[in-house]
Each structure stands twice: as structure tokens, then as C-alpha cells.
Symmetry: C2
Subunit: 173 residues, 2 copies
Amino acid sequence: MAQQHPAGNGAPSLDQARRQLSRYGLAADPQAVLVAARLMAAGARLGQAGEAHFARFGLSTGRYRLLAELEDHGGEKSPSQLAAALGVSRATVTGLVDGLERDGLVTRRPSVEDGRGNVVILTARGAQRLRDMAPEHFDRMQAMVAGLSVEERTVFLDLLARLVEGMSALTDG
Amino acid sequence: MAQQHPAGNGAPSLDQARRQLSRYGLAADPQAVLVAARLMAAGARLGQAGEAHFARFGLSTGRYRLLAELEDHGGEKSPSQLAAALGVSRATVTGLVDGLERDGLVTRRPSVEDGRGNVVILTARGAQRLRDMAPEHFDRMQAMVAGLSVEERTVFLDLLARLVEGMSALTDG
DNA sequence: CACCTATAATTAGCCTCCTAATCACTTGGA
DNA sequence: TCCAAGTGATTAGGAGGCTAATTATAGGTG
């Protein structure tokens, strides 16, 4: 078996990029393509690692983010606001809140100002869950970036932000 | 209208990180936490942008990656090999192949060497699909990273690779 | 040779996310 | 005032991931 992917899982190589480009006779820069592909692979990998991480606490990434967002806003927020803050659709928020409510980490209460609306409320149990997981959670977050110096982290944040801007190239037009 | 990404959504701030840490009296470095959170947010964002991108061609990220992997290996590979190469479960490959087979981009043939196994084969139509999308695909990939100079891309690849290593901190123990 | 375990693939069931359609309520204008 | 348009939330249905359980075959060993 000729094999060029030592790790195999999802980490594309420069050779792969070159092969693909030459196959179609395209003049794109292989390194640029590699950066894009690696970023995609890393994103997928991190997504999975994140799910595994949050699963320790009986949560998922989406559920954790929703709880954290609630706590960061005095413990209550409407589904629409949550959707906007988390960058997901309202339908997704409905699903997340359904699950969290089932587990007693959150409650729904009809909105006073707007008869159409709800308010999602962090319960004592939800707040406790966040407290319980905080030490380990932040410890692992920090450990994840421990391989970079403070300066490198600053550089990375800058480069990443510019790449995030560039992501619209995938969706525009 | 689902989701615009107006501002701040999915892009956590340093202040947020600081608030969270101080709420629990933790001594972690806010900047480190910020890097981790930003990377997660960027990964999610890129994942969505990628899906939108591939949807133009009637594919998804997973389906595209499977086709590309096939093409890169002479047009055939077993589901297990595909799962390993793509970094997903075999069950996921089964689902992806089901969809691709429905669209006629791929076929299954029983393996000759191993009576338990299959071989997934890229059809002419599948190869054509890859050819059709290549120019636009690689163009967009390149455009995504156009905000970075060649040197910056090199730096980014290095930093990203080290962060990817650190991701095991989320899943270990 | 028969058995027991390991492996290939699929199936079933769950979760997250999406879009589109629906229902309920608000609000602004004729 | 009442109706039309807009907005909040949910529902329905689809896709891609996962794990665990099932089915079929391969292979080594008593």
C-alpha cells in the first residue's frame, strides 16, 4: 500500500494539493489551497474534539454555548437573541432549549412584553452545571493552546481573524 | 432569513473570557481561552461556509472529500480505507456512499479478495463532477486565504499544526 | 474440523444543524 | 377599526456526524 498520509485522518498534504491542481491544469497556488484545506480539516477535528469534551459533562458544544451565553446575560434571553448571539438559526435554538429543558438546566417562560415571545431562563441546576465544569473546561482550553507562546497566540489571532473574513469567499456570489 | 452574521456572533471577545474566568475565580490566561474559543468559532463558521460552498455543486463537504479521496487513489477504495483516510466512522462512509450512489457519482462492487468487503468506485459522472467544479472550487479556496501573504501562510500553517496537536488536550484523560 | 475471535459493512437511533412551512401575535396603515 | 405585513417560535423533514448492535465472512488455534 503506497501511503503518504502518516496521520491519515483529514490532514491533507502539499503533494495532494499539487496533484489535484495539476490534474485539472489549474494555476492556483498549492500552498494557498493547502492552507484552506488544513483549516477545514482542523475545524472538523476541533469540532469533534469539542463534542467529546462537552460530552463529559452531559452537554454538547451547542448546549454549552447556549448556557454560557445565558449566564453571560443575567440568566435570561429570548430564543431570537440566543440565535443571533450563537450564530445559529432559531429552529436550532428551539431544539437546544428543548434538550436543556428536558435536563432541567433551563426553563421557558412566556415573555411579558411580547405575547409571541419566550424567555429562556438558566435554572439553578444549569448554573451549577457550568460551575462544576468550569475548572476542567478552562484548564483544557488553556492546555490546547499551551504549545504556543503569548506572542504566537497574538499572531495567530490576527491571522485567524483575517482568514475568517476571507471565508465569505466561499459563500459570496 | 435565518442567519446573517452581522457582528460579534460566534466571535467571542476577550472581555467575555475575562468575565467567565473571574466569575469562577479561575486563574487561567484569558488570552489563551480566547484563542481556543475563537478557533472553535472559526471552525464552526468555516464548516458552515464550506457546506454552502459545496452545496452549489450538489455535494456536501463529506461527499466532496470522499470523491476527491477516491480520485486521488485511482478511482477505487474500500469503505474502511475511506473512513480512515477521511477521519470519519465507517457508518458515516456508508451514509455518504449511499447518497453518492443515489446520485450516480459512485458505485459499489463486492471485493474480490475479501468476501466481506466492498469496493467503492468513482463513476465517469463522479469524475466529471469533480472536473466541473474544480476551477471554481480552487479559486474560492485561494480567495479565502488571499488576505494572507505567503510568509503569513507559512506561519499560520505552523501555528495551526501545533494547535491541532494540542486538541488532544480536549479528549485525553 | 470446529470454534472463537476479529474485522467489513450495514442498520438503528441519537444529536446538531439547516431550510421551509406553519401558527400566533404585533404593528402600522388605509 | 380592521386588515395586511412582519416577526417570534415551533414543527417537519433532510443531511452529516456519532456509537452500539447486527450480520457475514476471515482466520487462527485447540
